[in-house]
Symmetry: C2
Subunit: 184 residues, 2 copies
DNA sequence: TTGGACATGTAAGCCGTTACATGATTAC
DNA sequence: GTAATCATGTAACGGCTTACATGTCCAA
């Protein structure tokens, strides 16, 4: 079985929430979903075209806000297609964690090097946590429809738990590396 | 800047541990590293050829265990290349978590459907935990060289912490979904 | 008036999986 | 003898990123 193009489901899914443009889809994913999904323009625009050709979505030239803007809405056929997708068991995440690869191979570099990678990761994660606390959950949820809110909060919660876990892990690694340094 | 082929670093990295064949590399990744890295034969064999052409590794026909088997070892040049790779800041993980995508879009399907996806994930994770407890850490570490062991244990620990976190998360989602059902 | 955000789209080209092709060896 | 595992490799094909190309609108 061939690898499936998942972009179309993500795009179709976002259109199930409301009528938006390709530009909006990109922005929304970047701002709100980037902790579990990524897309690029090079995928989004061709995907919109294909979905339109298959009558899964409808195109409308966005007036009066015209600026070359086109907005798309999901059709009944599109909604059926999306629903049948959602029923299929999700594929395993494809994991390629470069930080762990480098840690695993760290006997080929200085201990300082790998330590600084871990410290960077820790800082990055702590910054995310801080940002999430500032922007409280209600604010992050403003743009989400009522019926989706419940599911959305679980997604956010996943992100937070993952973040906390990584922070904890980074600290244990750093502690261990420092312990080693003192022994020398 | 072009996207980088990461496979060569993974392959080179494994050869830094010892002289092995393409088949061995595949097996090792599948058995030991699959929680943070994946490769397929279609990438491994061409990569070995390219690394050899660039003198980063050396080929040797594996005698006396001959069965068409070729084994590779890292050269000094290869080791330098690997070290300079390890010094670069790791790229962000590319995340595409289909379970979270489906959860986010779950207002387009029956609640039962998404609930069963989460339950599957929970079962899968619990099975992994069980397996890891059975195969104790010393056994999993047998095949790892002494100098790598310390780093390796941190990688394993990441896997365990992540697993535990996901299990906890799944349970809160399932609880919440069941609470909703009772209210109806 | 100029920079930044809005807005759409294509082309090049590597990346990576899957399927296919082939054959040896070992254990039952 | 036959199934499983060992073992290498290629071809097809779609996936996806990156870079490029083009133009508008708005605010300072």
């Amino acid at each position: 079985m061939k690898r499936e193009n998942k972009t179309r489901y993500a795009v179709l899914g976002l259109l199930s929430i409301g009528e938006v443009s390709g530009y909006d889809i990109n922005k929304f994913i970047k701002e709100h979903l980037s902790f579990f999904w990524k897309e690029s323009f090079g995928q989004i625009y061709p995907t919109l075209k294909r979905l339109k050709d298959n009558s899964l979505i409808k195109e409308r030239v966005g007036m009066p806000d015209y600026r070359g803007r086109k907005v798309y809405s999901i059709t009944d056929k599109g909604r059926d297609f999306l629903t049948s997708y959602l029923e299929k068991t999700p594929d395993d995440e494809v994991i390629r964690n470069e930080l762990l690869l480098k840690l695993f191979l760290a006997s080929n570099c200085k201990e300082e090097t790998i330590k600084s990678h871990i410290e960077n990761e820790l800082k990055r994660r702590e910054a995310i946590t801080l940002k999430h606390k500032k922007i409280n959950i209600d604010h992050r949820t403003q743009c989400i429809k009522k019926e989706d809110e419940r599911y959305w909060k679980h997604c956010l919660n996943f992100a937070n738990m993952y973040n906390d876990m990584v922070i904890k892990w980074c600290k244990t690694v750093i502690d261990d590396l420092e312990k080693g340094e003192n022994n020398e």
